[in-house]
Amino acid sequence: MFENIILSFKGILSHKVRSLLTMLGIIIGIAAIIAIVSTIKGTNEQIKNNLIGAGNNTVKIALYRGDGQMDLQYESVPEGVSVIPDEVKKQIKDSDKIKSVSLYRQRSYVDSLYYMNTALNGGSVLGIDEDYFDTTGYKIKSGKGFGKREFTGSVKTAIIDTTAATGLFGGDDPIGKIIDISGEPFKIIGVAVQNSKFEPVINNYEDYQLYNQENSSGQVFIPINSWSVIFKYDEPQNCIIQASDTDSMTKAGKEAVDILNGRLTVSEDSGIKYKSEDQLERAKSLQKLSDSTNTLVICIAGISLLVGGIGVMNIMLVSVTERTREIGLKKALGARKKIILGQFLTEAAVLTSIGGIIGIIAGIILAQLISKFADVPVAISGISIAVSVIFSMAVGIVFGLIPSVKAANLDPIDALRYE
């Protein structure tokens, strides 16, 4: 076996150009597959990192009617849904999959948000509890955060994020200014910014569209206790949890949802339920999308491998004819069919394996070039390399079979007499 491999190498080296041309189909096929798979994997990893890393393992839980999220700006609080008490929050937090929990209320696209005559159109107002900033990764950039006073009493103070600060005040310092939310004055005590780890990575317009469903033209945070000053006092809260790690996001979300749904006393046919919006799931469905579009491309590259295999078969047949005398001599010297068969099969497999290895190297280079010039992330996968090597070897064996059988079955006298 080992000697056959060495002999095959010698044979291949003695016909360098021919061997290279024979391998070309395999090289192109494998290179294409490696490049495509690397690009797919890179894109998938980017999606996953962006989405999951962006939230730092947070899962949002909101009230849904059917498939749509309920917007309490336009409808009243449904019967059977109540405010989530602190005990339930503690109960959720007790899960070992959940690192922190925050309850909050939210109005998106508030249209009555002013500083003097400047309106913040499309801004959101969030009534938050003391855990919200920790859970979602906000920190105070200037001014100060809410203190005990805000979370026990009903104080009209607000913290705005940097987007809202720019929208309302331009370059001016917002600290100490009074803004008007639905006719009520709130004093700004701080500006908050989200930790970069929590922010989605935005490379292009598609990313922006993808991740920006959350980002409005700015966020204004008020203490949850002050919510009823402007909005309905009995509004049920949304919940956001931070899972202990990325892999337990889905389970953590489900646990919290189960606890919250257990408290609902709505009728079955109302369709009102808490649902978690899991970034892991979202990443998976996005990955599926990119996978399915690329399966076709992989199939096309596979055809190139098939064509390459036929090329190998063709050259092997020529090689058998060329070496008819050699085969005859070996048979005369006592080589059995098995030996001749093994020799030619090994040669075909070595040939395509070398082609496969060259193809892998070419594929990696190609992937790097793609990532450099097309600005697409790539991740070389070890599995795809291993599969390529085995697959190219298999191509050699499958397509080398017909020529090898032909060689093994040559009649020694005909072979010896062949000129």
Binding site: E3, K10, G11, S14, R325, E326, L329, K330, K331, A332, L333, G334, A335, R336, K337, I339, P412, I413, L416
Partner: protein, 228 residues
């Protein structure tokens, strides 16, 4: 007895007709004999040699080689007989061009499953016997015709076969190299190796102890007057 041919017939199918090439050939060769078979081209001597070499099968008749009935042997058994009991020497040497002299000599041992180290030792010894120990690692292209034929003889003898079968062994050689080859054959025969040699040269055939003549597929003892 090494070779025992009884009423061997061989037909070749040409189109729809069967052309007889060998007609009722009877031949027995004892151990240690040195036999030359002469005949003009087309006489059937190559076919006879292929049958004796277990490369071809007769159409009818029986062939006992070293106590085994060849006609009932399977392909695998024939390979083994060729490998272990017969050494072939061809007119055009038939060396593998990309392998060195010693690697060529090793080939039959490789097929016999001899371990690598032992193989190399045996091949070296065989080359020493034909006086080529200094050209062991030469490729066939670096050797003269006579040297190539000596490598081929070493290869034929490396497995210590019962029979050395030579097909026009001097046909492609000059007189001097041919004489050298004949000398080696003589030495081998003196050591007890059975030799069957096919040739159409009378001077070469004269080296053998016994000469047979084949014409139109019929084999007979050589009487001296036959035309070649």
């Amino acid at each position: 007895m090494v070779i025992d041919l009884k009423e061997i017939c061989k037909d070749y199918i040409q189109g729809k007709d069967a052309v007889p090439v060998l007609k009722d050939v009877n031949l027995s060769v004892d151990s240690g004999e040195y036999l030359a078979i002469m005949g003009p081209s087309g006489s059937g001597k190559s076919t006879l040699m292929n049958i004796i070499g277990c490369l071809d099968r007769q159409t009818s008749g029986t062939f006992i080689f070293d106590d085994s009935d060849i006609s009932v042997c399977k392909d695998r058994e024939l390979s083994e007989i060729r490998n272990k009991k017969i050494g072939f020497v061809f007119q055009n040497f038939n060396l593998l061009p990309r392998q060195s002299a010693v690697e060529n000599v090793e080939l039959p041992l490789l097929y016999a499953g001899v371990p690598k180290k032992e193989r190399r030792e045996m091949a070296k010894e065989a080359l020493i016997k034909v006086g080529l120990e200094e050209r062991m690692n030469f490729k066939p292209t670096q050797l003269s015709g006579g040297q190539k034929q000596r490598v081929a003889i070493a290869r034929a003898m490396v497995n210590s076969p019962t029979l050395l079968l030579a097909d026009e062994p001097t046909g492609a050689l000059d007189t001097k190299s041919g004489e050298q080859v004949m000398e080696i054959f003589q030495n081998l025969n003196d050591e007890g190796v059975t030799i069957v040699m096919i040739t159409h040269e009378k001077e070469i055939a004269d080296h053998a102890k016994r000469i047979m003549y084949i014409r139109d597929g019929e084999l007979s003892e050589y009487s001296g007057g036959e035309t070649l």
